[in-house]
């Protein structure tokens, strides 16, 4: 029944997109924004990634920000294993940057992520915008936002991704 509650709003949105298909579909980004913080409980960072048990979990957006206020609304009041969530918008990345999750939305992001290969940062990209360099990549299948996981890349960064998340992935690169 929880679905039903949620669905009223969703349906409204679906129908809106139906009558105006040319317009950008905000639900798509609302879903991607929700994924960003919902991934966190299924990822194990090395102990050094957090200064303390209550230190914030930082989600960084590099380059163009497709979410805007939506992401801030999504994470408001949310906690992941005791860590509050903080959003940072940045222009560029460098090794050692204080991010736990890094979203690079544009194709240009692929190049930037190369420098982050051995960092304990969960990198997320969007394949529908050419982003193929992330440990997690959003893909759109059958009208649904799903994701692929590059487990080899995650291990290189010292991250362990739970089998549950791998199970939900449309594909896993080992």
């Amino acid at each position: 029944m929880a679905h039903i509650r949620v669905c009223v709003g969703l349906l409204a949105l679906l129908a809106t997109t139906a009558s105006a298909p040319a317009v950008a579909q905000p639900i798509e980004y609302a879903i991607k924004a929700s994924y960003l913080y919902k991934f966190a409980p299924f990822v194990q960072w090395p102990p050094t990634a957090f200064a303390s048990p209550t230190a914030p979990l930082t989600i960084c957006i590099v380059g163009p920000d497709p979410f805007g206020k939506m992401l801030d609304d999504a994470v408001r009041g949310q906690r992941v294993n005791g860590h509050p969530i903080e959003i940072r918008r940045i222009e560029a990345v460098h090794p050692g940057i204080a991010c736990n999750i890094l979203f690079a939305g544009s194709e240009a992001g692929n190049e930037m992520l190369r420098a982050m290969a051995h960092e304990p940062v969960l990198t997320v990209t969007d394949r529908s915008h050419g982003g193929t360099g992330g440990m997690i990549q959003f893909v759109t299948i059958g009208g649904r936002v799903r994701f692929a996981v590059n487990q080899a890349a995650a291990e290189q960064g010292g991250l362990a991704i739970s089998s549950k998340l791998l199970g939900l992935a449309v594909s896993v690169t080992r």
Binding site: G9, L10, V145
Partner: protein, 651 residues
């Protein structure tokens, strides 16, 4: 005498069909949903990752998530609802839907229907007006249009959702979607990875299951499972053993492959064997084999094709007196959805189904001809037009060619209006039919080599014109409510007629007509994050009369012996993160003729999540009475109290 014999046909004879929407059958209704304003990420907050992965971003892909807001009387039983209820069989799970009537008649048989017309087994009329799909495979028997519930099983933990539509769905799903549609959808194999070992056992019933899911390649996942159950005999109305103890063993697999971003392929199959004891005449053996493949191809513009094919063999055999029947079904189905301009969407499709039935009769029941191959074909189209902000009109029609009566036209018009984000109003007019089966046309029941009851050579479609209206209200983020009302006009309903002068043989004819109206309401409210209540109510008034020229040999009550009122009340309660307590109370009003008293019963479960891997539970059904009668004592035994201790272990 007639009664006893016919009963054995219903429970031991038979099989047939009608089409079969693919995928979430109910999903098609979504394309009827009203357009409306925008919404925010807050609505996604409570969704799990699995749920998030199922949210549709384009209306033409027919999200099953949003189905609950489709303009029809749909109730959704979720995976969580099932896990928390303690139900271990499909019929017991279906008791969670307030828009269904579920009555147990023996350890392994049930009457399940929506909006009345449940039949009257004492008067030779069996429940036969519901479409039931398991992952797109139609499971009602094409032999008599009813469902052998003792042959249908799904591992409870695999079920993603059960969608229950009350009211006709013939335009989308075809001829047996008369009173309602039940669509059971299992999880993708990627969502059931790892090892699961589970079991429930009590004094009179036990079940166990083993499942393993793995990844075979980067984008190929699979699961295999084995599940068995056995139940002890029930007591008949006089307290003697009904000799209906039984067991069933089923195994199967599911493969899910996503070769590219726009394609999804599923291949799945099951093998089932069962054995049911009988007081006389020998045990019944049941067997099912099925294999299904489905391919969904999406395009970047949001349109999608879905192609599905399956094979199903269902067989029943009575060990001593030689009655046997088996049916092979071959089904192929294609569907396409796409946008038309900026305000329209179109769903169209078609399918063919061939079924070959084969019977070995005995002295008291046989079929003429004993074997036959029947072909069924259909095409349908449905167009949705968002003609004003928040309003949508959906028109659809299905043409279905049946082997006995030729082509039926099954139209539907549906209007949805969302004057505000939290309010949906809808209305619908639809036509549906139940088409003839071998059991209506070809059956011969004999006494002393003389035919006593024969199929009606002129038996034609049973017909329904249904008027419905409803509303769905999201009162707040914690409370929702659904109300639907209906008026059904029936014609050419099945009745038993007698041959002039000689009386026998009796034969089937379309001798009854009638109407019904009723109301279905349900809602839920979260009183706290850890406590949720739900309630449901169903009211029904039916009136049937013989058509001119009918012989009126039996009463008009042969159409259905339905309760005029039912109510449910449920509570889901959590203590911390590890303990869940659920209780479901149901009240079923009296049955009119033959009379069965009203009853109130309670089911529930206490679950304890010991750690991430182990879960213990105690669950029960029918806790208020050791035994109680749900259907007339001459055709049904008593439903038992069952208490089970359960263990679930995941790695």
């Amino acid at each position: 005498m007639l009664i006893g014999q016919e009963e054995s046909v219903g429970s031991k004879g038979a099989f047939l069909i009608r089409h079969a929407g693919i995928g979430p059958a109910v999903a098609l209704l979504l394309s009827c949903a009203a357009p409306a304003g925008a919404q925010s990420v807050e609505d996604l907050r409570d969704l799990s990752l699995e749920e998030l992965a199922n949210v549709s971003i384009s209306s033409v892909s027919k999200s099953s998530e949003a189905l609950a807001d489709a303009p029809a009387a749909i109730f959704v039983i979720t995976h969580d609802d099932i896990q928390r209820s303690g139900a271990t069989s499909l019929p017991e799970m279906l008791r969670l839907a307030p828009n269904l009537y579920v009555a147990q008649s023996s350890s392994n048989t049930y009457t399940i229907t929506a909006r009345g017309l449940s039949g009257n087994p004492g008067l030779v009329n069996f429940t036969n007006k519901l479409l039931v799909l398991i992952d797109g495979r139609s499971v009602y028997s094409p032999f008599y249009s009813g469902v052998f519930w003792d042959m249908q099983d799904v591992l409870p933990d695999d079920i993603e959702r059960i969608e229950v539509v009350s009211g006709p769905g013939a335009t989308l799903w075809g001829a047996n979607a008369f009173s309602g549609v039940i669509n059971i959808t299992t999880r993708r194999s990627g969502e059931t990875q790892g090892l699961l070992v589970g079991g429930d056992a009590g004094a009179r019933a036990r079940s166990g299951e083993l499942r393993y899911g793995g990844r075979l390649g980067g984008n190929l996942t699979a699961r295999i499972y084995l599940r068995g159950l056995s139940e002890d005999e029930t007591l008949n109305a006089s307290g003697a053993s009904a000799h209906d103890d039984w067991w069933r063993l089923q195994g199967g697999f599911r493969l899910d492959w996503t070769p590219g971003e726009l394609d999804a392929v599923t291949v799945q199959g099951d093998v089932m064997n069962g054995r049911i004891d009988a007081a006389t005449g020998g045990d019944t053996l049941t067997r099912n084999r099925n294999l299904l493949a489905r391919w969904t191809h999406s395009q970047k513009d949001g349109s999608a094709y879905e192609l599905q094919a399956y094979y199903d063999r269902s067989a029943r055999e009575i060990t001593q007196n030689g009655g046997r029947l088996w049916i092979d079904t071959y089904d192929l189905y294609l569907q396409h959805n796409n946008m038309v301009g900026t305000k329209g969407d179109l769903v169209w499709g078609g399918g063919v189904r061939a079924y070959r039935f084969n019977t070995v009769g005995n002295d008291s029941i046989y079929f003429l001809p004993p074997k036959r191959t029947l072909m069924l074909a259909d095409v349908f189209a449905q167009y949705g037009w968002a003609f004003a902000p928040g309003a949508k009109l959906t028109l659809g029609v299905k043409l279905e060619k049946d082997p006995y009566v030729g082509t039926s036209v099954l139209p539907n018009a549906r209007l949805a209006w969302k004057p505000a984000d939290a309010l949906l109003l809808w209305a619908s007019i639809a036509r549906a039919v139940r088409s003839p089966t071998p059991f209506d046309r070809d059956v011969v029941e004999a006494v002393n080599q003389k035919p006593l009851l024969i199929g009606g050579a002129a038996f034609r479609n049973e017909k329904l014109t249904a008027f419905e209206a409803g509303t769905r209200i999201q009162a707040s983020s914690a409370a929702s409510f659904s109300l639907s009302a209906y008026y059904n006009l029936y014609d050419d309903l099945k009745a038993l007629e007698i041959t002039p002068i000689t009386t026998v043989p009796f034969y089937w004819a379309n001798a009854l007509k009638g109407h019904s109206y009723g109301l279905e309401a349900w809602g839920d409210i979260s009183l706290a994050r850890w406590w949720k209540l739900r309630a449901g109510l169903s009211l029904l008034h039916e009136r049937f009369a013989f058509k001119p020229g009918a012989t009126r040999f039996l009463g008009a009550n042969q159409v259905g012996n339905d309760p005029s009122r039912q109510a449910t009340l449920g509570s889901s309660f959590n203590i911390g993160r590890t303990i869940s307590i659920d209780a479901n109370v149901r009240y079923v009003g009296p049955l009119p003729d033959p009379v069965v008293h009203s009853y109130c019963e309670l089911g529930g479960k206490i679950g304890w999540r010991v750690n991430d891997h182990v879960q213990l539970s105690i669950s029960g059904t029918n806790l208020l009475h050791k035994w109680h009668q749900e259907l007339p004592g001459d055709v049904a035994s008593q439903a038992p109290r069952t208490i089970l201790a359960g263990l679930k272990w995941r790695i």
